[in-house]
Amino acid sequence: MKGKKFFMLAIAVSMVFAIASCGKSGDNEATEVVKATLSSTYPIETDQTIRWWQSSPVKENDKFAEFLEEATGIKVEWEFPADSGNASTAFNLMIASDNLPDVIQSGWANSHGGPDYNLDKKIITDLTPYMDAGIMPNLKAYIDEHPELKKMMTSSTGRYYYFPQILGDERLASFRTWFVREDLLEKANLEKPETLDEWEQVLYAFKDMGIETPLMAKFTGWQFKDDSPFLACFDTPGDFYHDGNTVKYGFYEDGFGEWVKLMAKWYSDGILDKDFLNETNEHWSAEIINGKNGAFFGSIGGNLGTYTDAINPQTGIRYTPCKVPSSKKGEKAMWSSKDFMVKAVGCAVSYTSKNKELAVRLLDYGYSKQGQILWNFGKEGVSYEMKKNEEGREIPTYTDVIMDPAKRNGLTQGEAMGLYTRAGMPISVQSIDYLFQNYKYQAQKDAIEVACGSRKDEYALPLGICNAEQEKKLADIITPVDTYREETISKIIAGKLPIETLEEYYKQLKALGVDEAISIYQEAYNKYLEKNNL
């Protein structure tokens, strides 16, 4: 009997120790010393395979994967979740596994806890020693050429941590803009609108011409935040931002209330779609294709491209892109939907990888001259040829396997492009030449030129500046604020609550702790400024 008790006690004690000792091992290692061991030229001779995780699937016959292996000499085993619909859950499950892949492609810059958290928790590798040891010369050369990008690629403690998607041209930064019916403008003898006042004039003129929904814009989900149409005309973005060195919250500023009043007026005057909260794609295309719409805010490819394909040319419906609406004529808008030149998405090397140097070399290839072409255009003679464009510049030009519907084996242009290239999301420098070839309509090409026309860069807060602790506090404050705002503002716009509710709205935001959220961001931003000596 006594023996049994002792045995149980022993088990209990050993279990407690086992639990306590887990996760403690090897916490204080010295920073690793990195030396180059592989040849500095491509293709590299190796029998090792690199496991590469990404959230979107890679097909069996993927040509780009073949090209990449041929060029670098490195075999890649692609891993991706079976259900790509829920990328963040798939990513979390992958991170929780014991056997991490060598290369992980994800939105590292705005990942949970920020880059430093992932470095300190030994999920990803600190790339700074590799940078110093000359193992990633191509990315280093690109940063030396564009030193202003360096601060966007390092963590808040100044470490390199990922191979990002870099935009090779500012015009790649936005893929959404405002489109207005050119034929209606001509009929009404009006100019393309640039300022808010001109827009109002145009939209009301459309209404008088019998257009059912002069303006279509989605307000739900993320669209009710950053991109809320015309909000920037009141010099307030729908997000946290910095004005000089002071952090502010756009939804807490007076300009936001003014915008809500205008939207409520537009709603009751029938300028906005009655069903603006329950917008579906079917509803949009029905309204636009049947000529019931006057203007919309949407994407250049997915929206304008699809609608233009579907519109019967005999109806004479023609959409033309507009400049980002601003408050003053001739001035750029304060804010619009626009990416940073270094995107949040990129590839990191996992901390547990056994082939770190090889993985780094594989990723670094993408930033070399040939690598950039490979990621954007595939292989010469197969998916592209060097040809002169309209300006007389010699550029890689997609061949018929991508551009000619008859030679694509039933694929769409986008699918064919995804088979031979990764032009849409390269772990490399994205080329503007890709975008101009991707869009077939002149209106789309014109849209590229105007869509990014805002001063967002002067106001936007950098990505990933908050640490895990700050992030948690912010989430606790902002989640209820978002819930409250979305409900209240939707109801005010739709006339279900009186305009006077706005007074209460500001009070409620204060009560929900917005001031504390602002000060958390302020603290994080101050730290960021300090780190970069700004």
Partner: protein, 319 residues
């Protein structure tokens, strides 16, 4: 002297049990083998995952797991209770749940009683098949149908507008007051046929002699139902009711996701939707587990209370 006897008693009982157990094993070993898969199922899929509730007391980090995460004890619960929408989530959940118990619980019973009175077999089968059918339709499709029916030009909206003093030209889902009725009514429509199966089974087990005796005593159809049928299936009803109370805070989030919008959020945001948002969208696993554990504790309290009341009042109980 007394002590000795007690000790003896314990010793005898113990040997008696292990002796009986061994003898039973030998005799019925095939039955014991049969139950192994069930026990394994419960151990693996019901008990093993339970240690995950430890996450509720941790600042859980998915990379290092439960053994490596920091213990924060009741911090997650504090955050959960401090959420400005905590009260609203609970009230909405209880509102939906109580409404569906009040209207949804008696429906399959009444339906079963009515079906039981049908004497034509083919008619009875047809009715049953038609009423089971919605149970097999995917929730996504059901919600798509609901959205269409109560849309601005949907059939239900048109009917409501016909009888209403102030007709609306928008979806009924945009009206927060209409949300609970839409949610509960569609729920009843989808499940009452399926839920009536168990009562029909109970009804078929009622002894025919009781009805014969009642008829001899001069009881009509209604009298038979009240005095024979209902008392006979009362134990089933009670057990079902206790079990139903066990899910008083468990209103599924799937249907909410498919029907919610900013206009009806004030009555559609519920506890499970909050857990879904925190756990799966924001990956705040600790907080979501704490909220889930709170949910389970309340549910368990309701079952336990209902069970003991029922035991005292009617002697029918789960345990």
């Amino acid at each position: 002297m007394v002590k000795e006897i007690v000790n003896q008693g314990v010793a005898i009982n113990k040997t008696a049990f292990s002796y009986r157990f061994k003898r039973d094993m030998k005799k019925n070993y095939s039955l014991y083998i049969l139950i192994i898969p069930v026990l394994a199922f419960y151990a693996l899929f019901m008990y093993k995952p339970m240690y995950g509730v430890l996450m509720a007391f941790q600042d859980f980090e998915i990379r290092v797991g439960i053994t490596g995460s920091d213990w924060v004890w009741f911090d997650n619960f504090k955050r959960f209770f401090a959420d400005p929408y905590f009260k609203r989530n609970i009230i909405n959940t209880v509102k939906i749940s109580v409404t569906s118990i009040v209207f949804g619980f008696p429906t399959p019973i009444i339906f079963a009683l009515l079906v039981n009175e049908i004497s034509k077999k083919w008619f009875m089968r047809t009715v049953q098949t038609i009423t089971y059918l919605p149970h097999f339709i995917s929730l996504v499709v059901i919600c798509g149908m609901i959205r269409t029916f109560v849309g601005s030009d949907g059939i239900i909206t048109s009917i409501v507008n016909f009888f209403s003093a102030n007709p609306v030209d928008e979806s009924l889902l945009n009206n927060a007051k209409a949300f609970v009725p839409i949610f509960v009514a569609s729920d009843i429509w989808q499940s009452f046929g399926w839920n009536s199966i168990i009562y029909l089974a109970a009804l078929s087990a009622v002894d025919e002699q009781l009805y014969e005796a009642a008829i001899i005593d001069g009881a009509g159809r209604i009298r038979q139902t009240i005095s024979v049928t209902i008392p006979s299936i009362l134990p089933t009803i009670t057990i079902m009711f206790i079990l139903r109370l066990g899910s008083i805070l468990s209103v599924g989030y799937e249907k909410i996701i498919l029907l919610t919008n900013a206009f009806n959020a004030e009555s559609s945001e519920i506890l499970s939707y909050y857990i879904y948002k925190k756990g799966l969208i924001s990956a705040d696993y600790g907080l979501a587990t704490a909220a889930g554990l709170f949910n389970s504790i309340i549910n368990f309290a309701f079952v336990a209370a209902a069970n003991s009341i029922s035991k005292k009042v009617s002697d029918i109980a789960l345990w």
